[in-house]
């Protein structure tokens, strides 16, 4: 009995702590001045990927610049679709003026987004499109285009001929499929061959192990195309650990170009290039302000990639 009581207290304590953590940092009440402060609800599907952490940081920084005009309420759905659906509903009930969502999936969010828009709350969808939803605006990158650019880049630095190892992302996901098909298109018409291809599921240790296999199989590897920067970095380390100095002759190319990751690897000379997959953070706030000001915005905004090399970083 005593133990059960203790356990109950323990759980109650935990719940209290969790509730305390979950409370949004600033209550969205009007500031009392003459200018109205808009409340924006921002729902991120997960913060367990560095790219999404960066997206949040970008949104936060952009919101900070317009502190006098907007207040952003951040929510993390922790990779759970029902949680994120509930967050959208909750934002509407809370009475936010605009919702920004970076959804975990597409289909399950058609209904919540449509409901919000029907109630007069504009919705901006980031990164993953939700076909069939009546959102106000979609902002995202174009993985196929990025793959294409990467392919063209490798074609150029290898002078149109050579052997490439492709370390793919999770091939059941559309970003990996697009980064693959774009790349194939980019190198088409050249004498570049993909001699080794493995599904590394975006994971650096997996990429490292696969690269080690490629290294022991092939004497001549000219370039490595990683579907993300950690994969390219893992490949670099595998070559370095091999101890034959091949990390200096092979060109490593990655995607994503986060400041603390891909861009740093390029600056340190580990990667030859990385292609920025835009986080849409700053753009989402700019677009939100336009919508709140009553301006008309495009329904689809596709952000271009940037090629990051040592030269562009200077």
């Amino acid at each position: 009995m005593k133990r059960e009581l203790l356990f109950g207290l323990f759980i109650a304590g935990l719940t209290a702590i969790a509730a305390g953590c979950a409370r949004s940092p600033s209550a969205p009440t009007a500031s009392g001045g003459d200018a109205r402060v808009w409340n924006i609800g921002f729902s991120q599907c997960t913060l367990s990927e560095p790219w999404r952490v960066q997206m949040n940081a970008d949104v936060k920084a952009a919101a900070e610049r317009h502190r006098d005009r907007i207040n952003v309420i951040f929510q993390d759905a922790q990779d759970d679709t029902p949680t994120q659906q509930a967050q959208i509903k909750q934002f509407v009930e809370q009475g936010v003026d605009l919702i920004i969502i970076s959804p975990k999936e597409s289909r399950p969010f058609v209904q919540p987004i449509n409901d919000a828009v029907k109630k007069g709350v504009p919705v901006i969808v980031l990164d993953r499109d939700v076909p069939g939803a009546n959102y106000t605006c979609f902002i995202g990158g174009d993985n196929k285009q990025i793959g294409l650019e990467a392919g063209k880049f490798i074609k150029q630095i290898l002078n149109g001929k050579g052997n490439v190892v492709e370390l793919a992302g999770l091939m059941t996901s559309t970003p990996a499929q697009d980064r693959h098909s774009g790349f194939v298109e980019g190198i088409s018409g050249s004498a570049i061959k993909v001699i080794f291809n493995a599904d590394c599921q975006w994971k650096e240790p997996k990429a490292q192990a696969e690269m080690r296999s490629a290294l022991s199989r092939f004497e001549n590897i000219d370039a490595v195309y990683g579907h993300n920067d950690p994969s390219a970095h893992g490949a670099y380390l595998a070559a370095k650990q091999e101890g034959k100095g091949r990390e200096n002759t092979i060109k490593f190319v990655g995607i994503d170009g986060l400041p603390a990751e891909g861009q740093k690897y390029v600056r340190d000379g580990l990667l030859t290039a990385t292609f920025v997959y835009p986080t849409c953070g700053p753009e989402s706030i700019d677009t939100a302000l336009k919508i709140l000001d009553g301006e008309k915005v495009d329904k689809r905004i596709i952000l271009p990639t940037r090629t990051i090399t040592k030269e562009t970083l200077k």
Partner: protein, 346 residues
């Protein structure tokens, strides 16, 4: 593989003494490993220039051990726990936590290698004691207790790193802004004269030491006794609580060692490192022939199990087999291994 297992069965059925039984079981595992090895020789890709087998080279063979050193260490610790009839789901998260901590101490706070390693091992021991006390003292089911610690350790890894990968320059306050800690490179570079990496060496030495401990020490005998029949062990005067607590503590220390290797291998402290590794570790132990019900098996079995999975993975990888086929093959092999075990028990 089934034909081999049947042949093995005839050898083993008359075995009454546990030593003979263990030997027969071990032989079956070795058979499977040998079979996989032969598959590797047959299905090796060849070097395009020299035409040599890519599989039968020192480089590939030592790479296999190197790549599986983390799994090997996890499986080593897991064996102790499984021998007592328990399970430890937390090892993968602990690996991630310690990898992050190790990188943070070296890169973020600029600690020396000795102090950082000591702190990491102590942290591992502390987490292991939490497991051990929850299970040994409070009688929580191992599955539940270590599940909780698994979740919490992942949280701790993200908390201390602030949710990012710890690497030089990732934060402006880090002591190290450029380069790579020397110990990371040392751990993953082949030692001159020995020809293998310190990471591999750490794995092999751990397995060897624990082989001796499990086989010949009184602690080892207690593990079997507790796993075989907990009540009987208690009645015969064995401190069951203490034995279990020690097993979980040791298991987590090995996970911490694996964390050191993980950080060195990727030269960053990734809070996501080791995700689902506990499943591979359990698979290796089971494929080796240690039973999940406890009291049967041993460290030699586990080494065989780790090598079997490692070889299979390497062969699939060398041939650039696509992911769906790889997963199917791995699943089949686990089933085959478990079927062999069941036959032994009949």
């Amino acid at each position: 593989m089934p034909s081999f297992s049947k042949r093995g069965l005839q050898h083993s059925t008359p075995g009454k003494g546990s030593a003979a039984w263990a030997l027969a079981g071990q032989m079956r595992g070795v058979f499977a490993l040998l079979l996989v090895f032969i598959l590797g020789i047959v299905f090796t890709p060849r070097n395009l220039v020299t035409g040599q087998s890519v599989f039968l080279t020192w480089q590939t063979q030592s790479d296999i051990l190197f790549e599986y050193s983390e799994y090997g260490l996890l499986a080593c610790g897991m064996t102790l726990v499984i021998l007592t009839g328990g399970i430890d789901l937390a090892v993968g998260s602990v690996l991630g936590f310690i990898a992050t901590l190790f990188a943070l101490l070296l890169i973020g706070f600029g600690w020396g290698v000795g102090a950082a390693v000591a702190a990491c091992i102590l942290a591992g021991l502390a987490v292991g004691l939490v497991n051990g006390v929850l299970i040994g003292r409070f009688g929580l089911q191992p599955f539940v207790a270590t599940l909780a610690v698994m979740v919490a350790a992942r949280g701790a890894a993200k908390a201390i790193s602030g949710g990012i990968k710890v690497q030089p320059g990732a934060r402006t306050w880090y002591a190290m802004q450029e380069g790579t800690p020397r110990v990371f490179e040392w751990m993953t570079t082949r030692l001159p004269g020995v020809g293998i990496q310190p990471a591999t060496l750490l794995f092999l030495i751990s397995i060897l030491v624990m082989y001796v401990v499990v086989r010949y020490s009184s602690f080892g005998r207690k593990l079997y006794a507790v796993g075989g029949n907990e009540e009987a062990a208690r009645l015969s005067g064995i401190n069951v609580r203490w034995t279990k607590t020690s097993a979980y503590a040791l298991c987590t220390v090995f996970a911490a060692l694996a964390g050191l290797i993980s950080a060195s291998r990727s030269s960053i402290g990734d809070p996501e490192a080791g995700f689902t590794y506990e499943l591979d570790a359990i698979a290796a132990v089971v494929i080796g022939g240690t039973t999940l019900t406890g009291g049967q098996g041993g460290m030699g079995f586990t080494l065989v199990g780790v090598l079997t999975i490692a070889y299979i993975n390497k062969i699939l990888s060398l041939n650039a087999v696509q992911e769906p086929a790889r997963l199917l093959a791995k699943g089949l092999i686990i089933v085959a291994a478990v079927l062999i075990q069941q036959k032994r028990r009949v």
